[in-house]
Amino acid sequence: MQTINHTPALSSTTADRFLEPLSRFIIREFLHGDASLTPETPLLEWGVIDSMTIIDVIVFISEQLGVRVPDEEIRPDNFATLRALSRMLAALDDAARVRGAA
C-alpha cells in the first residue's frame, strides 16, 4: 500500500503548485464561475464539494493534473481545503517523481 508523508515543512511553493488549477476548476464547475476561494476556504464544510461531486474532482486531478490519488487518500481531511488538497497532490506527485527517478 502506498503511503504519503504529508510533511508540514513542505515548502509553500512546492505544496501550492496545484492551488491555482484546482481553484479554477472548482470555481468553474461548482460555483458557476462567479466566486472566489482562498486556500483555507472550508470546501466540505461549506458544501462547495460534497459526496456527489468528489468524483469529478478526482477525475480532474487524474486527467488534467496527472496525479493518481490512491483509494486510501480519498478521505475528507485531504479534501477539506484547497491547501490540504494541494499538499496531498504535491506529496503524491513528489513521491511519483522519486519512484520514476529511481
Binding site: G47, S51, M52, I74, P76
Partner: protein, 358 residues
C-alpha cells in the same frame, strides 16, 4: 372544538446496529466483484466518512443478508417484523389492540398484498371492521402525511382511536442487494444513509395518561418541486432489486424551495427529518433561527442514519424531551418537516399544540 391527542409515541430501531465503517467495508467487498465499479468503489471511504453517521440499523443480521438471496421476500419479512415490534411497543405502553378502530401504516420498503396493515390487523386481532390503510412510496415524508391521514380519520369521527405505524427497512433493503452492475455516485450516497427503524403512536380524541402531545388542528402543506421527479429515483435493475439514488441537484434546489418556508414558519417546536449531512448543513446555515432544530435532527442522523418514513417522529420524540419543547409554550405550534421523493416538501403543523411529555 375538542382536541386531538397523540399517545404512546414509541421508536424502535432495527435489531442489529452496525458501525458505518463496517457497512462501508461490506459495500467495498460487494463491488470488488465488479471491475467496472472500481471508480465508485474508491469513493466509499470518503462518502461513508463524510456521511457523519456512526452506525446504522439492520432488522436482519448482516450474515443472514449475506446468506440469503431472496431479496424481495426478506425485505418484506424485515419490514413486517419491525412493524410488529413497533406495535408491540405501543401495546406495552398500555394500549389495547381491541380498542384500535383504525390503523395507518406508512412504508416504502414493504411491497405486496395483503397490505401490511391487514397483516398487522390479523396478527394483533384488531377489530375486523377497523379501517386499515397503507401509504407507500412517500419515503422520508411518510410520517407527516401518515399523521395527517390518521388525524383526519379521528377528526372527522370515522375512527375513535387510530394507530399510526411508520416503518422502513431501507438499510436492509440496500445491504441485502446483490450488485450486478456498478452503482452511480448518487446511488452510493443514498445507500450509505439508509437505516432500519419504526415509529408508532396512537391518535385519539380522548385524553389518556399516555398522551405526549395534544393539539387543536392539523394542517399539512406539501409542494412538489417542479421538474424534480428524476432526482430521487428508485430504479430496479433486471434483477428487480431497486437501488435508491439521490441526485446532486437536490442541493442546488434545496434552499430556493425550502428556505422561504422555514424562514416564515410560525413560532413553535420544529422537528426536522434529517435527509443527509450536506442538506442539513445548508439549512442550518441559511436558517439560523432553526439551528437547534437542525442540530437535533443531525444528532439523530449521526446515531441512527436516515430511517426513512419514521425519522421525523424519531426527532419529534427527542424534541419533546429536550429544551426545544419550550417552544411549544411560546408558539403553540408543533411543526413536522420532511422531504419526500418527488421531490416534495412536506410540513405538518399541529396548531394549538401542548406537550404532555413527562
Amino acid at each position: 372544538m375538542s382536541r386531538v391527542h397523540l399517545s404512546s409515541l414509541v421508536t424502535v430501531a432495527g435489531a442489529h446496529t452496525v458501525p458505518q465503517a463496517a457497512l462501508g467495508e461490506s459495500m467495498r467487498h460487494q463491488l470488488a466483484r465488479l471491475p467496472e465499479a472500481a471508480g465508485v468503489a474508491q469513493m466509499i471511504t470518503f462518502v461513508y466518512a463524510r456521511s457523519d453517521i456512526r452506525a446504522r440499523h439492520l432488522e436482519l443480521a448482516p450474515d443472514e443478508l449475506e446468506r440469503r438471496d431472496d431479496w424481495y421476500a426478506l425485505t418484506n419479512e424485515a419490514t413486517f417484523r419491525l412493524a410488529c415490534r413497533a406495535l408491540d411497543a405501543v401495546l406495552a405502553a398500555g394500549e389495547r389492540a381491541e380498542t384500535l378502530d383504525g390503523l395507518v401504516v406508512v412504508s416504502s420498503s414493504y411491497a405486496g398484498f395483503p397490505a401490511l396493515s391487514r397483516r398487522l390487523q390479523d396478527r394483533y386481532r384488531l377489530p375486523t371492521a377497523a379501517r386499515c390503510l397503507d401509504l407507500t412510496g412517500l419515503g422520508c415524508g411518510g410520517s407527516t402525511q401518515g399523521l395527517e391521514l390518521a388525524d383526519s380519520l379521528v377528526s372527522r369521527g370515522t375512527c375513535k382511536k387510530v394507530a399510526l405505524i411508520c416503518v422502513d427497512v431501507m438499510g436492509t433493503f440496500g445491504a441485502a442487494r446483490r450488485h450486478l452492475r456498478a452503482p452511480t455516485m448518487s446511488q452510493l450516497v443514498a445507500h450509505c444513509l439508509a437505516s432500519d427503524g419504526a415509529a408508532a403512536l396512537v391518535v385519539e380524541r380522548e385524553p389518556s395518561p399516555r398522551c405526549v402531545l395534544s393539539y387543536a388542528r392539523a394542517r399539512l402543506r406539501t409542494r412538489l418541486w417542479p421538474g424534480t421527479l428524476a432526482l430521487n429515483d428508485l430504479t430496479a435493475d433486471a434483477d428487480n432489486q431497486p437501488l435508491i439514488a439521490v441526485g446532486k441537484d437536490i442541493r442546488a434546489r434545496l434552499l430556493p424551495e425550502v428556505a422561504p418556508l422555514l424562514e416564515q414558519l410560525e413560532p413553535g417546536l420544529l422537528a426536522m427529518h434529517p435527509g443527509g449531512k450536506a442538506l442539513m448543513q445548508l439549512l442550518r446555515a441559511r436558517c439560523p433561527d432553526h439551528a437547534d432544530a437542525a442540530e437535533l435532527a443531525m444528532a439523530t442522523l449521526r446515531e441512527h442514519g436516515n430511517l426513512g418514513a419514521p425519522s421525523a417522529l424519531w426527532v419529534l420524540r427527542r424534541a419533546l424531551s429536550s429544551e426545544l419543547a419550550g417552544a411549544l409554550d411560546r408558539g403553540g405550534r408543533c411543526h413536522l418537516f420532511a422531504l419526500a421523493p418527488g421531490i416534495v416538501t412536506t410540513l405538518l403543523t399541529l396548531e394549538g399544540a401542548r406537550s404532555h411529555a413527562a
